[in-house]
């Protein structure tokens, strides 16, 4: 009886791994995760919408935000998003070296974005405009910082996938991971559109 069960489970397991829709299921599951992440960001945007005008005598967005600098950050993220699209095309053609070079470019552009953001935060905190200064700055740092942490984890994930492509090649599981990371990366660029429109540009107008 036990033996029968064990072998049945064994067959079921191997069938699950070989299932033709495995990648589609993984992709859709990751999409559901992204939707839950969207709700997380929605709550942070709602918090910012409520607290964003409470300056407590501290600096306003107009005094803090540097628009040309922000445009640079925005373009870094946009270029890296498009570059990742081209990586996906190279992946479909099975061009391993193109995928590796493309991912390195995406990584550097994303790293440029995170570096600019850390530099911006550091300048603000050093000038005494940290998250403890006012409700506006608390909600600002929480919202923009949560996005920055997402991008940072995306970079860590990307470093792991670059290593996997280099060592394992473009196998089915590696392609599936590349695809999910691409969804994550495009998703973060979409959140950034909301941040620069609602937090930065609206704050400067």
């Amino acid at each position: 009886m036990m033996t029968t069960n064990a072998s049945t489970i064994g067959i079921a397991y191997s069938e699950e791994v070989e299932h033709p829709d495995t990648v589609a299921i993984q992709t859709f599951g990751f999409w559901i995760y992204l939707m839950s992440d969207l709700i997380l960001f929605a709550t942070l945007f709602a918090t910012f919408a409520v607290l964003g005008g409470n300056y407590a005598g501290g600096p306003t967005g107009k005094e803090l935000f540097d628009l040309p600098y922000l445009l640079g950050e925005t373009l870094f993220l946009l270029f890296s998003s498009v570059a990742y699209g081209l990586v996906m095309l190279a992946m479909h053609d099975g061009k391993k070296n193109c995928v590796l070079i493309g991912l390195a470019v995406v990584f550097l552009l994303g790293f440029g974005f995170v570096s600019m953001e850390i530099n911006e935060f550091h300048g603000m905190i050093a000038a005494g405009h940290g998250p403890d200064r006012s409700a506006f700055l608390s909600s600002f740092f929480t919202l923009v910082g949560t996005h920055g942490i997402h991008v940072t984890f995306g970079l860590i994930w990307m470093a792991v996938v670059i290593w996997q492509v280099a060592v394992k090649g473009l196998t089915t599981p590696v392609q599936s991971r590349l695809m999910r990371l691409s969804m994550f990366w495009h998703f973060l660029d979409i959140i950034w559109i909301g941040i620069f429109s609602i937090v930065y540009l609206t704050g400067v107008v």
């Binding site: 033709p20 829709d21 495995t22 990648v23 589609a24 992709t27 859709f28 999409w31 559901i32 939707m35 969207l38 709700i39 929605a42 709550t43 945007f45 709602a46 918090t47 919408a49 409520v50 628009l67 445009l71 925005t74 373009l75 946009l78 998003s81 498009v82 699209g85 081209l86 996906m88 095309l89 479909h92 099975g94 473009l170 196998t171 089915t172 392609q175 695809m179 691409s182 969804m183 495009h186 998703f187 660029d189 979409i190 559109i193 909301g194 429109s197 609602i198 540009l201 609206t202 400067v204 107008v205």
Partner: protein
């Protein structure tokens, strides 16, 4: 060995043309709100309207050209999940703003 399955998923059927179209659209839709705010030629409310409409159109462009959402059957469940999430988001954001501003008004 691993090429066949990939075409069956909705999130991965991009081509060079769709990425470049999305890229050019995004550049234009980023440039418009930045130019509006930096030049400051329009009135306050007109600038805000410009920022929000450019932002919404750019988000739709990203969803379509980068994440490949459309009305095809492959993307149907992704679109359905997104629609449901948008309803929840509207409840969260709209409800929060409504309640908090109402409270603020009554405590004045």
């Amino acid at each position: 060995m691993s090429q066949a399955f990939i075409d069956s998923t909705g999130a991965s059927k991009g081509n060079l043309k769709s990425y470049l179209t999305g890229f050019v659209l995004s550049l234009i839709l980023t440039a418009i709100p930045f130019a509006l705010v930096m030049s400051g030629t329009l009135s306050h409310s007109a600038t805000l309207a410009g920022i929000f409409s450019a932002g919404i159109v750019q988000i739709l462009a990203h969803l379509h050209y980068f994440l490949h959402l459309d009305t095809s059957s492959a993307a149907r469940w992704n679109v359905l999940a997104l629609m449901f999430t948008l309803v929840i988001m509207a409840l969260f954001v709209g409800g929060t703003i409504w309640i908090m501003y109402n409270l603020y008004y009554r405590m004045m």
